[in-house]
Assembly symmetry: C2
Homo-oligomer: 141 residues x 2
């Protein structure tokens, strides 16, 4: 299964917010998926990754997401990046790079100060993920 496609499906569902989608996968099964609802919920913490991580923890009844992977359409910000690292997620796959707020490449690399070393793979289906963001910013201008 192409999990990034599922994250993209989530991103497209976003209404008032910047379209970002995330899915958490364990043993080949999608256990949580979410999209950005910061504006919709009036909650700074309602990024796709945070919501997906909280759902996954509820399902596994454990804050440790050992053996889980996360697919996100946009490079996580430091808030989400730290939650991903601290939850012990094994692999992070993201689509678009965020040159403003990305927490793993352009601006800073949170792995440098974390004991948990999540593997990070950026630029997955990058063009497709970029397109979703470009289209969104066009409509709000």
């Amino acid at each position: 299964m192409n999990y990034m496609n599922l994250a993209i499906e989530q991103a497209i569902k976003t209404e008032k917010d910047i379209p970002v989608g995330a899915v958490v996968v364990k043993d080949g099964e999608v256990i949580a998926s979410a999209h950005n609802t910061k504006e919709l919920d009036n909650d700074i913490t309602s990024h796709a990754e945070i919501i997906a991580i909280r759902k996954a923890s509820k399902i596994l009844n454990n804050w440790r997401l050992t053996g889980c992977d996360i697919y996100v359409t946009l490079e996580p910000c430091p808030m989400c990046g730290w939650a991903i690292l601290q939850s012990g997620i094994k692999n992070l796959y993201f689509g678009s790079y965020d040159s403003n707020y990305g927490a793993f490449t352009s601006n800073c690399d949170l792995r440098k100060i974390s004991n948990n070393k999540t593997n990070v793979y950026g630029g997955i289906q990058e063009e497709e993920c970029n397109r979703i963001l470009i289209d969104f910013f066009k409509t709000i201008r």
Copy 2:
């Protein structure tokens, strides 16, 4: 009113978790307070600051916490630090420095990559805040 004392009161309430407390203040009034419940709730995002910020946003019906201050007994981690910066909180006052995961001094300074420039004041009632952590780590050893 001494708001750090209220944050300390919250920290002491913590049960299974590392004792950390936070209060959000607006116009001299405490609008939200919380303590760390990560282990209790099995939720990596249930740090004192995140819970207090979410409560404050609910009360103000706005993710923007403009004009608010936050008092925390421990230097925020990158997850909480980014939530504080992005919410537009005006002033952050924290007690103990976190040389492992602190997001404003020892390890990294998230303000360098943020447009929102929260004022940060560390070491407020530091000895008292340190004592709470030292006592906690003694009991679990």
